[in-house]
């Protein structure tokens, strides 16, 4: 038992509980922001701890928790997303009156995500995913006064429950095939027992797990909840779902496939590749005709999941490395975009409509530049982080002999250019007459900070790609269970 290794989990669990408790306890007005403060402190502490823990793998809770470079780096992605979500929700009028629960629930979800990417056991993995899911069901529905928020929560819950059931079933079959719930044990058993790699039951398990995780990552055709839920949920929550959940789901993919069942990669490479293809194509096509920016970003997140899945489908550490890099880039781009959407939402009615963006680049040039950077980078234009990520992902696909994946990815990216650049055109175009400056607020510094940091990261990750890649490569290598 190496309890110190699990320190991050303790910290996160503690701040989560504290935030939730503080949400229930009546607080004086001066301490209104205490839950957020605690949450931010907890996240910062977690990030600090991960830095000190960077090194060889440590194991806690008899292998239920693996503290290795992969988990730590993925924790960074998740914590950045959580931190940004808290900042984006800072003073969010729509979440007024629920703010304290908001913090606690975001922290709970972040804890679940962290648990997911650090888990060394199917049960822990399952609990992590459920913790984040349950938290997000509530977060989506948290604007209880708004019908769409509730609708989004219920849709997420129903489809999510089906996903949960399938995940349970898939895990059950995997357990049945290998006789253990430990990821390391599964890898060892697949390695040692001949013929197991192509066992039909294992294939069934893989199919169900792929489906269930594909659901969480919004891969086509399990993506259908995504646009509705993203649109209906409070925008900071949408941002969190788009980034944190995606990261956790991808982490689970990597742990289960590239890590635990790499011996059976012949069973799942083609399957996940097909999923990636469908996701890239349908996601990008679906985004084309959207007039709501949040909904468009939802479709875009589907498409991006497709690119990310390439990194899983290739089944190599190079793929994992590219995936992790792209996750960072993706999180930066998405958060920057959502920050601008939130900014606009606070200024005008229906601020998430594309028409509301008309002329925004002229009204707030810095916001226009941030959004342009985010869109252009999401579309994969060089020399930004999105391009480097795509380049690495396509490279890993070609290297793994799956050039077709890269070609489909390329074609799909072409489609994506249309809707990403549409935002840019509208932003820099003439303002719509009626809503140009309905309410011009002082820019909330927290939101601006997220936007600008995201924009800086979009450029910085590309320029300093090499140091970042070194870290990602370390993380990817940690996936392989020796």
């Amino acid at each position: 038992m190496n309890a110190g290794a699990a320190l991050t989990l303790y910290v996160m669990a503690a701040v989560t509980v504290a935030a939730i408790v503080l949400a229930v306890v009546p607080l004086p007005a001066s301490a209104r922001r205490l839950p957020e403060a605690i949450g931010i402190a907890g996240i910062v502490a977690t990030l600090a701890i991960t830095v000190t823990q960077w090194g060889e793998r440590q194991v806690a809770f008899n292998g239920e928790l693996r503290i290795d470079r992969f988990g730590l780096l993925m924790t960074w992605v998740i914590m950045i997303a959580a931190l940004a979500t808290l900042l984006l929700g800072w003073g969010e009028p729509a979440a007024a009156g629920r703010r304290r629960e908001f913090t606690g629930l975001v922290l709970a979800a972040a804890t679940g995500m962290m648990l997911t990417v650090m888990s060394g056991d199917l049960i822990t993995l399952f609990i992590g995913i459920e913790l984040l899911s349950v938290s997000l069901y509530i977060l989506c529905a948290m604007e209880v006064a708004r019908e769409r928020s509730l609708e989004s929560g219920l849709k997420y819950l129903i489809t999510g429950s089906i996903g949960t059931a399938l995940l349970v079933y898939g895990f059950a079959l995997l357990y049945g095939v290998t006789g253990t719930t430990s990821l390391a044990g599964i890898a060892t058993r697949l390695d040692s027992v001949g013929g197991l790699a192509s066992d039909p039951l294992l294939i069934a398990a893989i199919v169900l797990i792929v489906v269930a995780l594909g659901f969480k990552a919004s891969a086509v055709p399990f993506h259908m909840w995504t646009p509705d839920v993203y649109q209906g949920a409070p925008t900071p929550v949408t941002a969190f779902m788009g980034t944190g959940t995606k990261a956790a789901a991808m982490g689970a993919f990597l742990l289960l496939f590239t890590g635990a069942t790499s011996q059976a990669s012949g069973d799942w490479r083609g399957l996940i590749g097909a999923l990636a293809v469908a996701t890239m194509v349908v996601g990008n096509v679906g985004a084309l005709l959207q007039d709501n920016v949040k909904r468009m970003l939802a479709w875009s997140s589907i498409a991006q999941a497709g690119y990310l899945l390439i990194g899983v489908a290739v089944g190599t550490t190079a793929g994992a490395e590219a995936l992790i890099y792209y996750l960072f880039a993706y999180v930066a781009m998405t958060l920057a975009a959502f920050a601008i959407v939130i900014l606009r939402e606070r200024e005008v009615e229906d601020g998430d409509q594309l028409t509301a963006m008309a002329g925004y680049g002229r009204a707030r040039p810095w916001a226009g530049v941030v959004m342009t950077l985010a869109m252009v980078s999401l579309a994969g234009f060089p020399p930004f982080a999105g391009f480097v990520g795509k380049f690495l992902l396509f490279g890993s696909a070609v290297d793994a002999g799956m050039t077709w994946l890269a070609i489909v990815g390329a074609v799909a990216s072409v489609i994506s250019v249309v809707y990403y650049l549409r935002v840019v055109i509208v932003m820099w175009g003439p303002p719509a007459d009626d809503r140009s400056t309905v309410r011009r607020l002082r820019v909330p510094p927290a939101v601006a900070a997220v936007a600008v940091t995201g924009a800086v990261a979009i450029v910085g990750l590309a320029i300093a790609a090499q140091p970042m890649l070194d870290v990602c490569a370390d993380a990817a290598r940690a996936l392989i269970i020796p």
């Binding site: 699990a6 989990l9 669990a13 989560t16 509980v17 939730i20 949400a23 229930v24 806690a60 809770f61 008899n62 239920e64 928790l65 629920r98 629960e101 606690g104 629930l105 709970a108 804890t111 648990l115 056991d121 049960i123 822990t124 609990i127 992590g128 459920e130 913790l131 349950v134 938290s135 069901y137 509530i138 529905a141 948290m142 209880v144 006064a145 079959l173 049945g176 095939v177 290998t178 006789g179 013929g195 197991l196 066992d199 039909p200 039951l201 294992l202 294939i203 069934a204 199919v207």
Partner: protein, 173 residues
Amino acid sequence: MGEKITFAVAAIGALGFGTGVVFFRDAFRAAVSLIGTLLSVALLFIVLLAPFAAAVQVIVYAGAIVVMFLFVIAYLGERGEVTTPDRLDRWQVIGWLGVIGLGAFGAVAVLDSSSAPAEAAPATTDVGTPASIGDAFLSDHLLAFEVTSLILLVAAVGAVILARSAAQGEGGR
């Protein structure tokens, strides 16, 4: 032999009541039917030498959860089953095809598998006793145990949030 008969009874019960859950028009009946399924499954657990799981199944599932369902059904009152034509009728075909495909695929997977452990399962075992389960929870699966409590906490908070909204809605109307 007794095991086989028990299995048969439990299986028929689970599937029969399960069909009821799916096809009863009345929500109340369906919920009651679910209790039947859950009890049948609990019986299976006993056959599988998992008495602790069976007990939890009866107490938590059949007891607490379904009761909650019944409360809600009662609260929402007699809205009845929807009788308007189903706009998704034509999609049903796809769904059925999917279910059949899934079933066939699953059956093949199950029957073709050769992944069973080398030595047969022992006739008796104590892995399912409350003691050994408790032991497992406190040793190998301590973390799962702890985090599960967090899920329940979150669920409670969620219930509070939603309930408060319900209360507000009540007052406002």
